[in-house]
């Protein structure tokens, strides 16, 4: 359908529209007009994404004189795929109605691991080895060598992409990752570098949060985005965590050991250059050099050239070829010093000495018996006094390392992650004085007998990482299904939204049924409170609840637990007591594990089991990867059971430090923040069941603590409004009764458009009437 919002003609790819989508678009348009930032909460299952996409693309179509780029950030790759699929529907619709002038280029950008089509490279186990494998074939010095020596292998896809030069462009269209790969394969061009190149020209770019928030990645990829862009953070309820994680580093024993190995390798490389220089001939000294079989005419002059460059203050020697780029500086661009590298680390050997001293100092600190917490300023001071490294030197660690590795032409970057971590740590600790703390824990709180020391530099201030984004781009839209309480986010992220609104959901029928279950079938309270969680009675009651539900609810059921360890424990107990076996008689059981491959396959099987009618239960963890972005809509999830309240581990030192910071800086009470955080996770878990108004699902909050007002009231309003008073304090048998009634009711046919007084679905005509009405109002 096509309709008018003030001066913008909005193209919406469906025949009907929800009224809340319409008002969402109006708010969004206001934000774009004001060139400001906004915060919008809209329930899941009301088509946020398509509303966003169609308004923003239509807005830029209506203003062809000032083209606007849309940067759409998702949390995960699979959400990226979903967004691109929706965009494709929209794009086809716009082309149908507007013709070729509506053509846009929209691409999804991901890492080499997901985009590479070179079979030898992509076969590698993990992301870092794929990145390194790519560098081995495409780095500028490797390619230069290949021109002289035909034995050196390069990547044919990259070579033909380079050969095509400016002709290598993507025709307009919407490209999912899979289609990018297919396109690359067909043309013989490297899809990754093609995508990287096309990002500058694309009208819509969809990528992960980190590509904008994490300075390490943003520094390479998002450097050249123009100011006239709209940035959208979808599903942004966790954005504060992403921000603080982007600036946090931890160092363990293994890291330090690895770093020591890396350092000796680097010094060998340096020696080789020197040796090479003195003898003037080449010896196949190192395995990898033999394999590569390279003959080099370079010598220590390279190192000298680097030294000279550093004196001039050019850390990275101007423009690097796109393939040589490594991860960029971990500190935010504004905080990086624009000056020459200090003299004491300009020479490679000197820099190595500094790093050695640093590693030694850190390993000394790890040997502590007690938990130590320090501010970065204090930490830097003690580094200075004990290891003799001053703050400025620390700050430059990362850039100096990067430069050195480029100079030494190291391609297997995946081997050097440890020293990189150390340098990240050094740079961050040297750069930031406020909003961070360093914490040394000699052992895990829960396993005090196993020494596992860890030094963490943790960021507490989410506003640091996101500040450059707010400053740089014209409009930033933060949206999610759960942003309650909505006034907290501007404080956490330190920005001033021009629009901040929470939408409710108009439902044709009560298609969600939240319940609070406080007692088991034996009327004893259930909870995952620390003192109750391992009580066999509670475990049994939870099992009974699930068992009763699997026999009543059709298709898919999802069950969220508070943590992996709790889930493992409870499943083992159920297995021993035979409850699991009984559950399996009704439905297949799938479990999220820490192994992503296995979890992905389990999810895939779960969906197939729901598709074929066998029905299945999926056990998942509230803060796990599945809860973060997998939808359990329609028959994939007719019921979600949230077992327990997913509080963070409250004894964690990092959490305590962050709470302290929040209290001192933003006057947010610890308890409030913890409850807020737990409830947004719970709401996020249960919110995954519903996708549209035609969908339906039940949500059971199984913990007695949910019945308390202070906890419950933190739930988003669209859930709260459907939580009837009668459903606040249920036992298993009552919940079962309600579930039966609800499912029976939902199975009846109904009128989709809603009753006459309360429209929940608007058609083209109704929209036009509405438009006239608002025009009418405006004229007065």
């Amino acid at each position: 359908m096509k309709f008018q919002i003030e001066d913008v003609t909005v193209y919406f790819p469906y025949d009907h529209i929800y009224p809340e989508q319409y008002s969402y678009m109006i708010e969004l348009k206001g934000t774009l007009d004001a060139k400001g930032h906004c915060l919008l909460e809209m329930p899941t299952g009301t088509g946020k994404t398509i509303a966003l996409l169609s308004l923003i693309t239509s807005y830029s179509l209506s203003k062809p004189q000032s083209p606007m780029k849309l940067i759409y950030c998702t949390r995960t790759v699979h959400e990226m795929e979903k967004t691109l699929a929706e965009l494709k529907i929209l794009h086809n619709y716009q082309i149908k109605h507007l013709g070729p002038q509506a053509r846009i280029l929209a691409i999804g950008l991901s890492s080499r691991k997901n985009l590479c089509v070179n079979p030898t490279v992509v076969a590698a186990e993990n992301r870092d080895s794929v990145d390194a494998g790519c560098r081995k074939l495409t780095a500028s010095w490797v390619r230069a060598l290949a021109e002289e020596n035909t034995d050196v292998t390069t990547c044919e896809f990259f070579e033909s992409y380079e050969k095509a030069a400016s002709a290598a462009v993507l025709p307009p269209g919407v490209y999912t990752l899979q289609e990018l790969r297919a396109f690359g394969k067909e043309k013989g061009w490297c899809p990754y570098f093609l995508a990287r190149h096309m990002v500058q020209f694309a009208n819509v770019v969809v990528y992960s949060y980190q590509y904008l928030l994490d300075p390490k990645v943003a520094g390479i990829i998002s450097k050249e985005m123009q100011k006239e862009s709209v940035v959208v953070f979808d599903e942004a309820h966790n954005i504060d965590n992403v921000c603080i994680e982007a600036l946090s580093v931890s160092v363990r024993r293994q890291t330090l050991e690895g770093a020591t190995r890396n350092l000796s390798r680097i010094s060998q490389e340096i020696d080789r250059y020197v040796f090479f220089y003195s003898r003037g001939l080449y010896r196949c000294q190192f395995l990898n050099w033999i394999m590569v079989g390279r003959f080099k005419a370079t010598d220590t002059s390279i190192l000298r050239a680097e030294y000279n460059r550093l004196v001039e203050g050019l850390v990275l020697g101007g423009n690097l070829p796109i393939t040589d780029n490594w991860l960029s500086n971990p500190a935010l661009p504004d905080d990086i010093l624009k000056e020459a590298v200090p003299g004491n680390i300009r020479r490679a050997e000197h820099f190595l000495h500094v790093l050695r001293r640093l590693v030694q100092y850190l390993s000394g600190r790890l040997d502590t018996e007690n938990v130590e917490k320090e501010s970065p300023v204090g930490f830097v001071a003690s580094i200075c006094s004990h290891a003799g490294i001053d703050q400025k030197t620390l700050k430059f660690c990362y850039d100096r390392l990067h430069s050195l590795m480029l100079t030494l032409e190291i391609t297997d970057t995946d081997e050097f992650l440890h020293i990189q971590t150390i340098c990240d740590f050094a740079t961050l600790v040297g750069t930031y004085g406020r909003g961070f703390s360093t914490i040394i824990e000699p052992f895990d709180e829960r396993m005090p007998h196993i020494p596992d020391p860890v030094l963490q530099l943790s960021c507490h201030d989410a506003s640091l990482a996101i500040k450059p984004v707010f400053d740089r781009f014209q409009s930033v839209v933060i949206t999610s299904g759960t942003l309650s309480p909505i006034d907290l986010y501007p404080r956490l992220l330190n920005f001033h939204p021009v629009v901040s609104r929470s939408f409710t959901m108009s439902l044709t029928r009560d298609c969600i049924c939240p319940m609070v279950l406080t007692r088991g079938s034996d009327q004893l309270p259930v909870s995952t409170k620390f003192d109750m969680r391992s009580d066999p009675g509670v475990v049994r009651n939870y099992g009974k609840l699930l068992l009763e539900m699997v026999s009543v609810v059709p298709d898919g059921i999802v069950c969220f637990f508070v943590s992996y360890s709790y889930m493992d424990g409870i499943i083992n107990t159920w297995n021993d007591s035979g409850i699991l076996k009984e559950i399996m008689q009704h439905k297949l059981v799938f479990i999220e594990t820490q192994d992503v491959v296995e979890t992905t396959l389990a999810l895939d099987n779960y969906r197939r089991a729901c598709d074929c009618g066998r029905g299945a239960v999926f056990f998942s963890v509230a803060r796990g990867k599945v809860a973060e972005g997998i939808d359990f809509d329609r028959h994939y999830g007719r019921l979600v059971i949230m077992i327990g309240v997913p509080f963070q581990y409250t004894l964690s030192k990092i959490l305590l430090a962050r709470l302290e910071y929040l209290r001192d800086t933003f006057q947010i009470k610890e308890g409030d923040f913890l409850t807020f955080d737990a409830l947004r996770q719970a709401a996020q878990c249960v919110g995954r069941v519903i996708r549209s108004k035609a969908d339906y699902g039940m949500m059971i909050f199984a913990d007695k603590r949910y019945s308390r007002h202070d906890k419950r009231s933190k739930l988003p309003s669209w859930i709260l409004s459907h939580l009837q008073d009668a459903n606040l304090n249920l036992s298993t048998d009552m919940a079962l009764h309600i579930a039966r009634e609800f499912l029976k009711k939902m199975a009846q046919p109904y009128d989709k458009t809603g009753s006459s007084d309360k429209k929940t679905l608007l058609s083209q005509e109704e929209m036009e009437k509405l438009g006239d009405g608002s025009m009418h109002e405006m004229s007065y």
């Binding site: 699929a85 293994q254 679905l761």
Partner: protein, 597 residues
Amino acid sequence: MASTHVTKRAKYKTTIKDPGTPGTLRMTFEKILFVPHNPKSAGKLDVEFRYIKGKKHTKEGSNKPPWLNLTNNQNGSFIFEFENYSDLQECRDFVGKVLAKGGEVSEKPTVAYPDEQLSAAEMELRIKLLQEDSELQKLHKQFVLSGVLTETEFWATRKKLLDREASKKTKQRLGFKSAMISDIKPSTDGRTNKVTFNLTPEVILQIFAEKPAVHRAFLSYVPNKMSERTFWTKYFRAEYLHSTKNSIAAAAEAAEDEELAVFLKQDDILASEARKKIRRVDPTLDMEADEGDDYTHLPDHGILREGSKEMTESQNELYKRSLSQDINRHAAVVLEGRAVDVELEDTKAVAEALAQSKQKSSNKGESDGDTSRERLDRLSRMTEIEDLQGPNTLPLAPLCIKDPRDYFDSQQANALRSSGDALGEIEQIKCGLSTQEVYGSLRESISSIKAMGLKEPIVKPEVAHQVFDALTNSISNTKYHIGKNPQESVLDRLPRKTKEELLHHWTSILELLKHFWASYPITTTYLYVKVNRLKDAMSNIYPQLEEIKGSVPSELRHQVSLLVRPMHQALDAAIQHYEASMQKRSAQSGERPNGYV
């Protein structure tokens, strides 16, 4: 028809409690003859088969003796107890054959018809169908037994019924049990510490399917390297070690015994399969891709997540296996279903069959390249918001109507509601087209088919639906417009007996007409004879219909006659056609002096 008679030793009982008279049972196509061993006892029996209506028998495996119970049409029954089940089976099959053949055996039709050899299975299927559907049975009795139609003719029009029944039987296959294999609990003898595991081929198949490494080990070790018994002993030893959750002990044992290590190690086949499968996974839930894109969680970056610690430690990880892995694997195997369809007797055979089927499926998996296409389609379907979009034309499963009457009854409400406009539409469609337009559109569609090949589906679903609607409308209307009220049709107001009779006549007329019209044009003598037979049968119905009309109360007579009228019309038309064709025929034969019948 391998044998024309069966003779068995059996006991004859008049009631179930009766101990029975021992003797010899002899069955031929015509009759059942029972002669007691003791000529003085009273149990002598001589029954003709046409009085026998049904048969029951006890099941093998139930604790009852092998009994065959034959019921006659006066609701009496003859019970025979056999010495063993094979005798019973033989007799049962024989009775089944005779009962089914019933009419045609007793009165062999004079005209030769294409004889068909029926297998016992087909026979049984027919009997089953007759037993399930009383109406069919009635028709069968009325026409086949009375000789109007032959058995073959009767079933020829119901081929579909037979096919479907037959295919249904083979389609359903048993899946795996929902219980996990770790639930196999050993039994102890109570005195020693020895435990005994009972393994059935069923369980073994499940173990092989869930643990490809065990399967591979079995194929390579048994019986060359070790006996099957030692193999399974080792397997359960390994399972025991797992259940103790002591990975250090497991590692120690594995170091000593390399065969045991096979069971204790992580399943490498599974791992490689997983890597293969992950590439075909739905991109909207591919979390592995997500990890590949996550630069914040470089090793040691970001904030430690709960649980991430456990991943890094434990050097005995090789020998660790979690319950969740087992559960996931089990569910996946159950979902996949059983690929092997062999008689489960020999473990070796099971193992080899499974290996073969795996080979096949892996070949298939490599060959089909259109899975990615399918995935994309699926993805785009999933992303659409269903209720914002107009009704979607989804691929429909073909409708299977067992009893058309039920269907039309249920359609009535819809039909009445939309009858007005639907009829109007039909009118429009009819008058809107001229011959040229029709020709044009036909040409167009032919050329489009030539250009693009046949589309799937050939007819547009909307068009098909419209036509279908219109058709059912008119059909259900004719039936219901007689009684104006859709809920209570005129039939419901008639006395039960009359109603049943009417319906029965209607179905039998339909049956006759079906055969009648199917016989035209008459090309062979066989058809000629058949048509004559059918015509006679049809003319017999007229007086019966009149009789019904006469028997109903006067206030209903009009309605009945309304109901009967279409039947009359149908019959009239048939008979008219018959007479006309007879005249033509006689005229033709008159021309031909030699005469031709």
